[in-house]
Each structure stands twice: as C-alpha cells, then as structure tokens.
C-alpha cells in the first residue's frame, strides 16, 4: 500500500517522523482525510482529534492536537501544531481541572479577548479528555 512521509512538529518537540498510510485531521469545517499522493495543499487545523494509520499497521491511532496547519507538498505532510499529545500522555486529572477552571471563568464577566481565551482553553481541555478516553497509541 502507498504511503506518504509524515512529520508532526509540536511547539516543544518533534512529535513524530516517519511513513504513514492515512491521516485524518480536524479542519475548521470538519474532518479532512489525507491519503498518499494528495494534491499540494495547506490546511488550517483547529483543536481536535487527529487520526493516523502508520505504515505497516491496520489500526488507527488517536492524538490530541492544538491549532496549527498541515502542509502537503510532494507527498510529504508536515503537521505544525502548537500541541500534540498521545492519549496515554494526557493527564486526565489535569485536563479535568483545566476544564473546570475554564467553565468557571466562562460564567464570569469577561472581556471579549478573555472570553476567546477561555473558550480556547476549554476546547483544549475537552479535546484532551475525549482523546484520553481510549488509550491506544503506543509507539
């Protein structure tokens, strides 16, 4: 089966580099799938769950990603996101606390900027919790 090069770069480390068969990323208007030999494209990514099927594997692995973008050039995909986490690296307790804190702040009167900030924080927390539900990723 055809594969493509995948490189996932998070702001604090190079998260993954290798061959990949299929990739699904969260775009602003829904999920977007990428197969080998995809057209050259740059796609914005929002906070959500990305799914990958690595070369030589049949099961899907989940990972929580933050905002960023994916760049597809010459059958190479670079995923540049501010955070990328495997389910088992997610601290469920911390994510829960983050969610509660964000919800608490949402209820208070805030400026628009603070509101967006809290909203983004809440989205990240909820996404972490969602991904952490089933821990499948083990590289």
């Amino acid at each position: 089966m055809d594969t493509f090069g995948l490189k996932i770069i998070a702001s604090d480390k190079v998260f993954y580099e290798g061959r990949c068969r299929k990739l699904i990323i969260p775009a602003p208007d829904g999920q977007k799938g990428i197969l080998p030999n995809h057209e050259n494209m740059v796609i914005a990514i929002v906070v959500g769950t990305a799914k990958v099927q690595l070369a030589g594997e049949d099961d899907w692995r989940d990972l929580a990603v933050g905002t960023g973008f994916a760049e597809i050039v010459n059958n190479r995909v670079t995923l540049l996101v501010d955070t990328a986490e495997r389910p088992e690296d997610i601290d469920v307790r911390r994510a829960q606390e983050q969610q509660e804190r964000a919800e608490e702040q949402m209820r208070q009167k805030q400026s628009i900027q603070e509101y967006y900030h809290t909203q983004a924080s809440l989205a990240r927390a909820m996404n972490r919790l969602r991904v952490a539900q089933d821990k499948k990723w083990n590289l």
């Binding site: 050259n40 740059v42 973008f69 670079t78 540049l80 501010d82 900030h117």
Partner: protein
Amino acid sequence: MANIREIQSRINSVKDTMKITNAMYMISSSKMTQAKKKLQDTEPYFYALQGEISRILRHLPELEHNYFVKREDIPPEERKIGSIVVTADKGLAGAYNHNIVKLEEEILSRPGIHKLFIVGELGRHYFAKHGVEIDTNFQYTVQKPTMHRARDISGVLLDQFEKGELDEIYIVYTRMENSVQSEAEVIKLLPLERSSFNEMKMPLNVHRESIELYPSAEAVMDSIVPNYVTGMIYGCLVEACASEHNARMMAMKSATDSAQDLIRDLSIVYNRARQAAITQEITEVCAGARAQKK
C-alpha cells in the same frame, strides 16, 4: 595593622559570601542548561513556521493580510509603539539588565506614543520611576518560560494591534551569541516585514508547484501568524532566560574568583599579624627574663 580578630571575622564573612555566590553560580549554570535545551526543542517548530510563511508569500505575493499592513498613513509622532521589554527578576547578573534598559531608552527617545509591556520585576521598577506608560495588567515573570505564557502575551498584543491601539510592536531582549557572548537586541514583531522572510526571486521559466490553501488563504494565515508571533515571543523569552542565567553565571563566577583573591590577601595579612604578635610576645618574655636576671 588591623587586629587579628578583625581580620579573622573579615575572612569568615568573605567565605560566607563566597559560598552564596558559588551556589548561585551552580544554580545558574544548571538553569542555563535547561533553558538551552528548551530552546533547542522549540527551534524546529519555529523555523518550520517561518519557512511556511515565506512559502505562502512566495506563492501568493499579492496576499494582503492584516498583519502585513504597515499603516503608513499615521505620522511618526502619532504612531503608537509598544515594546515588550524582557529583563530579569533580580539583579546580580552583571550588565545584563543595564544593556536592556539602555536599548529600550533608545527606543523611547524616538518619536511616537510609547507603551511598555515589561516582563521581569527589575525593569518594571526601573521604568515605573521614569514616567513611561506601562501596561499594569501585564504581570509576567521571566522564570521558566512556557508556551502558555507566550500565548498569553501574544494574545494581549495581537488584540491591541488589531484594535489599532498599537501600530508597531517591538521586543527588546538579550540574544545569546554563544556561551560567552550575549547581546541585547530589538526585533520588530508586528507588522510583519515581507523582507524578513527572505522571499526567493524565482526565474519566470521555472515551473512552480501550486499550493491550494484550505479553507482560504486568510484562514490559513490567521492560524499561522498568531502562532508565529507566539513562537517568536516564546523563543525570545527562552533566549533571554538562557542569557540571563549565563550573565548571572559569569557575574557569580567572577565574584567567587575575587572572593578567593580577597581571602588569599587577607590570610597573608592575618598570618603576618599573627607572626608579629608572636614575635612581640617572645620579645616581651625575653626582655622580662633578662630584667629578672640582672
């Protein structure tokens, strides 16, 4: 000559100070190693972002975006200039803080309405006394820079930039050239300069691969540029943190060295004084004995 006890207590106090400076030296050196590692970890992300912006600019040279608008219609006296000033939280770091302050004062002397965003206690105290407008809600420390803090900072700045409360944003920080040399530096954060992304001039007869931007060029730029600014601020914070610890390390090292010199000199003086006291005692005893004999 000072008396023996005085010299002794002086030596002890110098020794105590030396213990502290030596400990600070070691703390700073370990913190610097951490900061350097952090910097290395974040570099690929940052360079990839930069490369991506330049790629998009290359493919879409006509792209107009909010963050590239220079707002040239505003005369220099009315331009609102914001600067992020990264100083240390405390002194004892040689000329580190002084260099930053000097550089910032250079910016303040230019025309325009200035507003300061200060990271670090020391700078905040300094500029509070000098009657410059300081954003008081902007309370961040320089210890352990995190992505989260950089995101907060860039959030505040991008918001003010978009609202037109700021027309230009600079960051003043210290860049590490290598492990011995670091230099205070000013970088223009916003508006973005096309030239800083070294646009490649491609010959016309070469086939260019076309890249589609999804959902739209604006949406992609919207998601790249804030991250780019955040990454830039994060990089600067980490770099500043590393150079602060480097500066402190150097300062503490020279303090320890000069304490050692001081101790050596003092112990010579001490030994002389002790020897003089012994000699004098012997002389007195001998003189006394001779007097008895007669």
